[in-house]
């Protein structure tokens, strides 16, 4: 999905100024502290950052969820034109979750209750969230529902016989496929996937990524894909939102973030990421096909979000930080079409040296 193709297309998901804070005894943890983005139909948006950057909180907020003591305190989330923020718990369950926005949770494969068969587990989800028509089929049970369930398993490459199996009889990859099938069953507008490949072996990871790509192609799936690994985002995401300390650091197309090789005949040569945080995340990502003697790393750790640093939140770890960065928060600026970054350095000197 290039920037050009979506002229006139309405985003299926539109997030503006979203803030989700956790109210602890020590103070409010500002886990998500003002992020905005759009997701277009058929697109995969990658949400990336270190642990504690607010990716998972932001992802679950899209389903109107905030695990206590968390609360969405500000902002707007429009799913297909419907406002999610402020919806009652009842209508969230009835009108949003699973039917419009579904989620594959982190470690979803370990969330399958061990005493139920896959059939029972899947049927339960549908009883809870399905619209009337499908719910009737589910309630009646019998062959009708088995056909429905088998069909959604087929979609993720599992045989119908899986329905009678218990979670412990399945491999990690198969359980992850079941979790994806459950997320897709009600044909939601948006699927949020939170680290769906992280605990899996490399080959199974690649198989799951291929599965998601296939679903994207065949069903036109719109997806928010959360991971800490930029290499995985490169494999799956059309656009990437880099989060740091609850805020947006950079947002751009895969080419804007990873750069492209002009020799491959791309329309517009791009040098890659502009925000120092993205650059440093990239430099610390190991690359198999490049002989390196040193891997870079980001010294220090993300800040305490009860009392985040003033100015740019990345400044304490940033090699380019100047007095201004510690004092004033950088605005979000557009570096190219659809390529945004919140960095004084990138804004004032877009040609600054590559890390």
């Amino acid at each position: 999905m290039g920037d050009m193709t979506r002229a006139g297309t309405e985003p299926v998901l539109s997030v503006r100024g979203l803030k989700l804070h956790y109210f602890t005894s020590k103070g409010a943890v500002r886990a998500v502290d003002g992020i905005s983005f759009d997701l277009y139909p058929g697109e995969t948006l990658g949400l990336v950052g270190e642990s504690g950057c607010g990716k998972t909180s932001a992802g679950s907020a899209l389903l109107g969820m905030a695990s206590p003591p968390g609360r969405i305190v500000e902002g707007s989330i429009l799913v297909d034109g419907t406002e999610v923020v402020g919806m009652s718990e009842r209508s969230l369950r009835r009108d949003l979750r699973w039917s419009k926005v579904s989620m594959v949770f982190q470690g979803a494969m370990n969330c399958l209750t061990p005493v139920y068969t896959i059939r029972e587990l899947m049927a339960e989800t549908y009883r809870e969230h399905a619209p009337e028509k499908k719910r009737d089929a589910v309630a009646k049970g019998g062959e009708g529902i088995d056909n429905l369930l088998a069909e959604s398993l087929r979609l993720v490459g599992l045989p119908a016989a899986t329905l009678g199996r218990y979670p412990h009889e399945l491999s990690g990859g198969m359980k992850q496929r079941v979790a994806i099938a459950m997320a897709l069953f009600l044909e939601p507008k948006v699927v949020v996937m939170d680290e769906p490949t992280t605990a899996l072996d490399v080959i199974v990871q690649a198989q799951i990524l291929n599965l998601v790509k296939g679903l994207k192609r065949d069903l036109g799936l719109s997806c928010v894909f959360i991971t800490h690994d930029l290499a995985t985002e490169a494999e799956i995401a059309d656009r990437i939102l880099v989060m740091y300390a609850g805020r947006m650091a950079e947002l751009g197309s895969s080419e804007d973030i990873f750069g492209n090789d002009p020799r491959r005949g791309s329309q517009r040569p791009r040098r890659g990421s502009s925000h120092p945080y993205t650059k440093m995340l990239l430099a610390s990502t190991p690359r198999l096909h490049r002989r390196v003697s040193e891997l870079a790393f980001i010294p220090g750790s993300p800040p305490d979000l009860i009392d985040p640093p003033e100015g740019c939140r990345f400044a304490p770890r940033c090699p380019f930080a100047k007095a201004k960065c510690h004092r004033d928060e950088p605005p979000i600026s557009e570096l190219g079409p659809g390529h945004l970054a919140a960095c004084w350095k990138a804004m004032e000197d877009p040609e600054y040296e590559r890390l």
Binding site: T44, E50, S51, S171, G172, G173, M174, D201, V202, I203, V204, Q205, A206, Q207, L209, N210, K213, G214, H228, D229, L230, A231, T232, E233, A234, E235, I236, A237, D238, S253, S254, E255, I257, F258, G259, N260, R264, S266, R270, M280, L281, L282, S284, T285, P286, R287, L288, H289, R291, V292, E294, L295, A296, F297, I298, P299, S301
Partner: protein, 338 residues
């Protein structure tokens, strides 16, 4: 380079010969061949990466070397010396020479212990240091080595007060304090954030060079093995299917399984989201209680022919420069050698 030439006996710090471990499962109805005939030698000052998926037996090898499980057959020698029966003098001396860094820094330390207790315990077990002061001086030295400074800030903390990266530094310090010859590191960075992962690997490598330590680096991630290891052994269902210098194995793999592992790695480059990837492998790893006859990889191999199931299992074939693989059809498949 010397790392790629066959080892001189005097260079060898750890030697594993025809190691096997069979677990009995399902009340005796299944025999799980977790490690199924593995031999290799680790040179002094070398890092050997053991790479494979879950179920490949790599962690069991680590546990066997640590004597956390008893082998069914085969032998392990460290510096020419076998451990003997458990709990005996030779066993205790062996355990002092071989130390481990575990995968999960959240589960590998007693939560009631302070950091100084965590680090002093091995010294107490092995009766090192006459007085508490002497032992705490050793603790302080090893903490400096892993860059947990200022030492006084950390000594009285409990493990839960440290980040994952800091805990893994302490785990490293605990492994170092006995001045072992061999360290078995089982996925030491897989539970740490990518941004700190490189920092820990860098630290381990610096210490390894300074102290001329030998490492077994167990991982499912062949891309960190390229950075960290000198040689790589690729394991599949309890066996080594390819072994050689890290650049040799990654740039010129012979075994189809090694190729599949390499093809599965994601690289941070643009333009990959649009296309499905060719994976060069079918399905998932079978159970170690049901290992296929003939070549054990044939059920998933894209190149399997009749001979692969009909003929006995291929052994490791040396193709020069210390690079070996266990594939009968490597010539037909066509090596990607430059």
């Amino acid at each position: 380079m010397s790392v790629f030439s066959p080892p001189e006996p005097a260079d060898i710090i750890l030697e594993v010969r025809d190691l096997r471990k069979e677990f009995i499962a399902r009340r005796g109805r299944a025999r799980v061949r977790a490690v199924d005939g593995v031999s290799f030698a680790l040179r002094r000052g070398e890092i050997l990466g053991l790479v494979g998926e879950s179920g490949s037996g790599k962690t069991t090898i680590g546990k066997l070397i640590m004597r956390l499980v008893e082998p069914s057959s085969g032998s392990i020698e460290v510096a020419g010396f076998e451990p003997g029966p458990r709990g005996g003098g030779a066993d205790i001396a062996y355990r002092r020479r071989v130390q481990m860094i575990f995968q999960d820094p959240y589960a590998s330390m007693n939560p009631h212990f302070r950091i100084k207790d965590v680090l002093e315990e091995p010294l107490l077990i092995h009766h090192i240091g006459k007085t508490r002061e002497e032992r705490l001086a050793m603790v302080a030295r090893v903490m400096e080595k892993v860059k947990m400074t200022p030492v006084a800030d950390f000594l009285d903390r409990h493990p839960h007060m440290l980040s994952g990266g800091q805990r893994q530094r302490i785990a490293t310090a605990r492994a170092l304090i006995l001045r072992p010859s061999v360290i078995v590191a089982d996925e030491p960075v897989s539970m740490i954030d990518l941004s700190t992962r490189a920092e820990i690997l860098h630290l381990l490598k610096t210490i390894q060079e300074e102290m001329e330590l030998s490492f077994i680096y167990i991982t499912h991630d062949i891309s960190t093995a390229r950075y960290f290891a000198d040689r790589i052994a690729v394991m599949y269902l309890g066996r080594i299917v390819e072994i050689g210098g890290r650049d040799e194995v990654i740039d010129h793999p012979f075994h189809p399984y090694t190729r599949a592992l390499i093809a599965a790695v994601c690289e941070p480059e643009a333009g990959r989201a649009g296309t499905l990837r060719e994976l060069q492998v079918r399905g998932e790893i079978p159970s170690a209680s049901d290992i296929p006859s003939g070549c054990r990889f044939r059920t998933r191999c894209m190149y399997a022919a009749e001979e692969c199931s009909a003929l006995p299992e291929p052994g490791l074939e040396d193709i020069g420069g210390g690079h070996s693989h266990a594939c009968r059809r490597w010539k037909e498949i066509g090596a990607t050698r430059a």
